[in-house]
Structures are given as structure tokens and as C-alpha cells.
Symmetry: C2
Subunit: 130 residues, 2 copies
DNA sequence: TCAATGTTTCACGAGTAGTTGAACCATGGA
DNA sequence: TCCATGGTTCAACTACTCGTGAAACATTGA
């Protein structure tokens, strides 16, 4: 993934409403959610919602399709994953101490390869900060 | 990690110079780098550099310590990891398709548990986007 | 104490992002 | 064709961020 795409994605994510939007859409899976439903759930007025949705779509984090009168939005999982991958691998160089914080997620990523060694998600707060 | 901290971290990262800064500092490990050296390496004027460094420090992504005349900056690996962890787990709900994009990083996180199945980092671009 | 070096802070102007409400476009049903 | 509904775009304003250069501060050595 190109650097400029990552930057625009980070910039898109760096907003409370848009982070909520991504989170909500991820929970909705491929089915997605109509713009109106999103606005009702998040309590956003239509024009602002549309503004934020187009910012996220521009950044490659969500997708849209028209279904009758509704516009259905879905999370672009590959786009989101690409940003995370860039951050972890290209920016953080897969630094062990950074990745340790994502331990739980990493386990999911490997389809629960391991069973022992809990290494809880909030492990980060206990990391030595020399 | 709190939501507001994640937002300020994302906002801090959403800038070319600051992403470079984090990347550079991560490669320098605990030893870190003096502000002046950073400026020389990245070709940033002192005032701009200081501005960006303090933004990153405020966001909990880097740390500083004074050593004689120099101010040494280091990456705050726990802070960075915390943001990544929040994004993967709390925002993306550990969604398998998102995590699949971080496959290589995930493997590192598990201390090279697996040896086979390369699953290259740019796997994301090949993910089915239904 | 003074000068040199390293770094931060400040004031300013330019550009960009965010919010709001109204107007507009697209679609489907009467 | 007309109206209602669902979304988007626009204009205007505010607020914030960025970059620049000059000034200020901190530390060290002479």
C-alpha cells in the first residue's frame, strides 16, 4: 500500500465520528448499512454524515453501493487491513515490542495456532518503558 | 487505551513528516536520536521539527530526555502498540479479514511460531472484495 | 561572564478541515 | 406526472493546522 494512501486513511480515521463509522460498519459485515440507518444510529445529521462517509470512501476504508433509494455502506476490510499492515510492518518494522501489544489480535490472525501463554491484550500497559 | 488518546495519536500520525519521525525513531531503539540529528536526517528546519516532535510526544508516541545540550527522542513502543492494538481489537473487532492483512506481522508477534506458509505481506491486495 | 551550540517558543499568514442549513438530485409509489 | 423519501452538494462561516523566520531559552566550555 502506498504511503500517500496510508496518510489519507490515517487522517480520515483521526476523527471521532469517522472512527465510529468504521467500527459500526465493520460490525455489519458484507450486508452493510444504509446511510440513513447509520445517521440514526450515530445521531448524525445527513449532510455531515455524507461528508464523513465520502471522506472514508475516498480514503479507501469503506465502500458504497446503491440499492433502490438507499445507499448501502460497507467496511472495506482489505483497505483497513492494508493500513494496519503498513503501520505494523513498514512503519514499525514489525518491532517485537509493538507487536506484543497486538498479541491477542495476532493470535486471531493465525487462526488460533497457539493455545497456551495468554499474553492479554492490555499487556501493553505493563511493558517496561526504559 | 482511551479513545481520545487513540484519536490524537492517529491525528499525529496522519502527517508525512511525523510518520517519518516515528519510523526513524523506531529504527533507533532505546538509544534514540538527538533532535538535531533527526532534523539533519529528515531535512527539517529546527522549528518545524520541534513542533512535530512535541505533537508526537503529546500523543504518547515518542518520549524525550535531556542529555547535556541535546534532547534525545525515542519511540514510545508501548504507546504505539497501544494504538495499533486499539485499532485491531476495539475498532476492527479482531475481524479475520483485517487481521489476515497483518499476517506477516502477526507471525512476528507470536515469536515465529510458524515456519511454513509464507503468506506474503502484500497478501491484502489479493483479498476478495465482495 | 561571555560566546557558541542545541532546541523551543512565538507571531504571523496561508491553507485546509469541520459544521450548518438550504438547495439540489435520484428513486419509487400514487 | 407529481409527491415523498433518501442522500448529496453547496455556500458561508469558524476553527484549526502548517510552515516560516525571528527571538528566546538552556547548557556547556572558554
Amino acid at each position: 500500500m502506498e504511503r500517500s494512501k496510508v496518510l489519507s486513511a490515517l487522517s480520515a480515521l483521526a476523527h471521532e465520528a469517522r472512527l465510529d463509522l468504521v467500527r459500526l460498519l465493520i460490525t455489519q459485515g458484507n450486508e452493510g448499512l444504509a446511510a440513513g440507518d447509520i445517521g440514526r444510529r450515530l445521531g448524525l445529521p445527513a449532510s455531515r454524515l455524507s461528508f464523513h462517509l465520502s471522506a472514508l470512501e475516498q480514503a479507501g476504508l469503506i465502500r458504497s453501493r446503491r440499492v433502490s433509494r438507499n445507499v448501502i455502506y460497507t467496511a472495506d476490510l482489505a483497505g483497513i487491513g492494508g493500513v494496519m499492515s503498513y503501520m505494523l510492518a513498514d512503519c514499525c518494522m514489525d518491532h517485537p515490542e509493538v507487536l506484543a501489544c497486538c498479541g491477542a489480535s495476532a493470535r486471531h490472525a493465525l487462526h488460533r495456532v497457539t493455545e497456551g501463554d495468554p499474553a492479554p491484550r492490555d499487556h501493553c500497559s505493563g511493558i517496561t518503558k526504559t
